[in-house]
């Protein structure tokens, strides 16, 4: 008898990770990120512990920056929800960015026409308009996927570039505000502006909208037969098909809902923050939505928490930059590092170490 292989440590796949693994992931991810980014912080001549204090704790200590966290997390919650519908169904919609702008264009168009029309009419119109616009923009890649099996990752991503040029064309052409030196549209009607939740802050109705969308996501996914169909299709297409679920129809519907909700994120930014259309309405909220949905494990409350955390990190990056004079980009580096570490952890939790 001859054993051809010496025992050594191997990663073995396990179906049942122990219950304590999951809560440990964010903690470990944070520690891992801290270690990795400390090098950069040291290079920027700052103390990593100080930096992380300003980054993660200082913004929680005063009301102004607390509200700012909520403001910053609003669009992230909405795009996170949007992406979750698609990803849960196994449709990898990377086009929330373009769909967001589609919604923003619709909101601006409707908003500019709302002079003299009460808010009770104007706001629903804008929200519905933004939803439909996002849906329309999501329709082409979704049809290509369902009818011709064209990879949606490529098509939804490319639709983002197309949208960027459409926005630019609109702002330099028909909607260019003659009173401004910049390519931006005229302001929307005052009645079309989302009302403030707290006076003299930027926190507005958009945040309420985001929370409502999260609650709806939770109800749809856990309580409705459509939610179960989406999850079945996303987790096991052959089994879903076998059980008689109309796989393509489910994917198409999820893709359209996803696009529509991303459109609402655009509405919230126009009506709540900018009041007109500019080319830089979103610094990549659509893409961050993918990160939020993934980090939130496609769970409604996970998405909410991940978005709040990203809002904190973004606010913290500014606090940090002011306090220690380090580049604000450290915030972005940290976000990206944290994502990679967290994804690595999510992957590794399915394995155990064994000597064999």
């Amino acid at each position: 008898m001859e054993n051809t292989e010496k025992p050594r440590w191997r990663l073995v796949k396990t179906d049942n990770p122990p219950f304590w693994v999951k809560p440990l992931i964010p903690v470990l991810a944070l520690i891992g990120t801290f270690i990795l980014t400390s090098v950069l912080i040291l290079l920027a001549d700052a103390n990593p512990f100080d930096a992380y204090y300003y980054f993660l704790f200082a913004p929680l200590e005063n009301k102004v920056s607390l509200l700012e966290i909520l403001v910053k997390s609003t669009p992230l919650m909405i795009t996170g929800v949007a992406v979750t519908y698609a990803f849960a169904t196994g449709y990898y919609n990377i086009g929330a960015e373009g769909q967001l702008y589609a919604g923003a264009i619709a909101a601006t168009g409707i908003g500019m026409a709302m002079h003299g029309i009460p808010a009770i009419v104007a706001l629903p119109l804008m929200i519905i308009g933004g939803f439909v616009a996002g849906m329309v923009w999501a329709l082409i890649p979704a049809l290509l996927k369902v009818k011709l099996a064209v990879d949606e990752v490529v098509t939804t991503l490319l639709m983002n570039s197309i949208m960027a040029y459409i926005v630019s064309a609109i702002l330099n052409g028909p909607w260019r505000d003659p009173n401004s030196g910049w390519p931006q549209s005229p302001d929307i009607a005052p009645t079309a502006v989302f009302f403030k939740l707290i006076p003299r802050s930027r926190l507005n109705f958009g945040f309420v909208l985001a929370i409502v969308l999260i609650l709806i996501l939770w109800i749809v996914m856990t309580r409705t037969s459509f939610g179960l169909k989406m999850r079945a299709v996303g987790l096991g297409k052959p089994a879903a098909k076998f059980a008689g679920i109309k796989v393509n129809r489910t994917i198409l519907t999820a893709a359209l809902i996803s696009g529509g909700i991303a459109g609402i994120a655009g509405v919230a930014e126009v009506a709540g923050i900018h009041f007109h259309l500019i080319g830089e309405i979103s610094p990549g909220y659509g893409y961050t939505g993918v990160i939020i949905a993934t980090l939130g494990s496609l769970n409604a409350f996970g998405v909410g928490l991940a978005a709040l955390f990203f809002g904190l990190v973004e606010t913290g990056a500014q606090t940090l930059s002011r306090a220690l004079g380090v580049p604000v980009y450290l915030g972005e580096v940290t976000q990206a590092t944290m994502l990679l570490v967290a994804l690595g952890m999510l992957l590794l939790q399915r394995y155990k170490l064994r000597r064999m």
Binding site: S225, L228, A232, L235, F242, A243, G244, I245
Partner: protein
């Protein structure tokens, strides 16, 4: 001295013993068949020889020298080449590039030089291939020739062919056999894995039969008949199951299939003009070696695959063109062939149990969680499923997973039950349970189709047996008249019997 000798080779995967103290000897210049049913351990044994697996225990000798083979690279160095069922070729590259791939000594690739070299090798072995052809443009038979050339180019003295004819049309089979005969004259030793008796008797010098991971024996091909080989391959007495009561011939035909034709995933004909019917209270066994159209038949009858032509009727209502949910509404009880593709592993037991009839378990689009849970608890109790309703399906054992699938289907009292390979991979207890359930469906008056590669299973519970070979029905026998030998012959295409 043998060119290859394997002594007491055992391979264990988890709890499955794939090879159990197998002895195997290969002479120089012979074509040696490794014969056995699916799952007998033929491919595993050869994968060990080719370094794809390592044996748990046992020794391998090449030219009398004890060797350790850790990888295909080791095997090739020792003169062993293998052509697997799935070719390892790069379609956009030329034949020459594919042949030298991973076997070049210089950094710079001189296209003309390798084409010349590969061309010479092809001539030397009389393999008709143009080294400049792009592999993508070649037929399956030609690709197989490229694979053989690839092995010979690497100086293989022993060539393992894993079911080489499975993918070929008859003419290509003839040409392959000519090639093998020539190579044998040149002194090459060939191991020919197969379960087709006619081919084995036609081309090989000796045959080693494997059954359930054990070697049954090695015989000279000239000294045996196909019948004897079939007996060695299946080699069991019929089970002592007492036949159930005869079915009443007046019972209504519930399922009728006529003129059914279908293509497989590669676009080749998988079912050819199939005609069969099942009466109420009858179990029809579909016997056959895997890959002869059973998978396609099950998929079509489940509504997940469309036939190219033909009629499927339940109680005279045609089902062709309907979707899976209409199939089940019209009384087709569908058990999936691949358990893992029939359940959503990351959903819970109660969700999976409701999945096929969601419209019944929801009101205005909202799930009726109470009804779903109640249904799950009842089925878990009635079908003795060892699980909690909220367990994720993927944490269940194979037997319990199968019980979930049975429960989902049988609790609906379908008129027809399609059970493809329902006990594959299950332990003895679960297997008994599944067979018992099928018998109960029979006494309830359902028409049951049992598709199985396990002859014991077919023989012990079927009323009538249909044998399928290369997508055609080659015989229909009443279970009383069936013997394993007769079925074995029919399954290997050596005997046809129309009744």
């Amino acid at each position: 001295m043998y060119i290859v000798e394997m002594q007491k080779v055992t391979k264990i995967f988890g709890e499955l013993v794939a090879n159990d103290h197998v002895d195997f000897q290969l002479r120089k210049g012979e074509i040696h068949a490794l014969l056995g049913e699916n799952g007998a351990g033929k491919t595993t044994l050869m994968r060990i020889l080719y370094g794809l697996y390592q044996q748990t225990t046992g020794d391998i000798f090449i030219n009398g020298e004890k060797v350790t083979i850790n990888s295909p690279k080791d095997a090739i160095r020792k003169g062993v080449g293998m052509v697997t069922q799935h070719f390892a070729l790069v379609p956009p590259m030329t034949v020459a590039e594919n042949v030298v791939l991973g076997y070049t000594d210089s950094f710079v690739l001189d296209q003309a030089a390798i084409e010349k070299k590969v061309g010479e090798a092809a001539d030397q072995f009389s393999l008709d291939i143009n080294p400049k052809s792009i592999v993508r443009h070649l037929s399956v038979g030609q690709r197989q020739r490229v694979e053989i050339l690839k092995a010979l180019y690497r100086n293989a003295k022993v060539l393992i062919l894993d079911e080489p004819t499975a993918v070929l049309v008859p003419q290509e089979v003839d040409s392959l056999f000519e090639t093998l005969n020539r190579l044998r004259k040149d002194g090459l030793s060939v191991i020919f894995i197969s379960h087709k008796l006619d081919e084995v008797t036609k081309i090989t010098d000796r045959v080693t039969v494997l059954r359930d991971g054990k070697s049954i024996g090695t015989v000279d091909t000239v000294n045996v008949t196909q019948k004897q080989l079939a007996a060695m391959m299946v080699g069991r007495d019929t089970f002592g199951v007492t036949r159930q009561t005869e079915i009443n011939p007046d019972n209504k035909k519930i399922l009728e299939v006529e003129g059914l034709c279908a293509l497989d995933d590669k676009g080749l004909p998988a079912l050819k003009n199939l005609k069969l019917s099942i009466r109420s209270g009858e179990i029809l066994g579909i016997a056959g070696v895997g890959g002869n159209g059973q998978k396609e038949l099950a998929e079509i009858l489940s509504g997940v695959k469309s036939p190219t032509s033909g009629v499927i009727k339940i109680n005279d209502k045609n089902l062709v063109g309907k979707d899976p949910s209409e199939f089940s509404k019209m009384g087709m009880g569908r058990i999936p062939e691949d358990r893992h593709e029939g359940v959503v592993g990351d959903l819970t037991v109660y969700e999976n149990l409701a999945l096929e009839h969601l419209d019944e378990y929801s009101k205005n689009g909202f799930l009726d969680k109470q009804a779903i849970r109640k249904n799950a608890e009842e089925l878990i109790k009635n079908f003795q499923i060892k699980a909690k309703p909220s367990d994720k399906i993927r944490t269940l054992s194979g037997g319990n997973m199968q019980k979930v699938l049975l429960a989902r289907v049988l609790s609906r009292q379908p008129e027809v039950v399609i059970a493809p390979q329902p006990t594959r991979g299950l332990d003895v207890g679960a297997t008994e349970y599944v067979r018992q359930q099928l018998l109960e469906q029979r006494s309830r008056g359902a028409a049951v189709m049992l598709i199985s590669e396990d002859l014991d299973e077919i023989l012990s519970i079927s009323d009538r047996i249909v044998v399928i070979y290369e997508g055609e029905i080659v015989g229909t026998i009443n279970a009383q008249d069936a013997t394993p030998e007769k079925l074995g012959l029919m399954m290997s295409g050596a005997l046809r019997e129309e009744t």
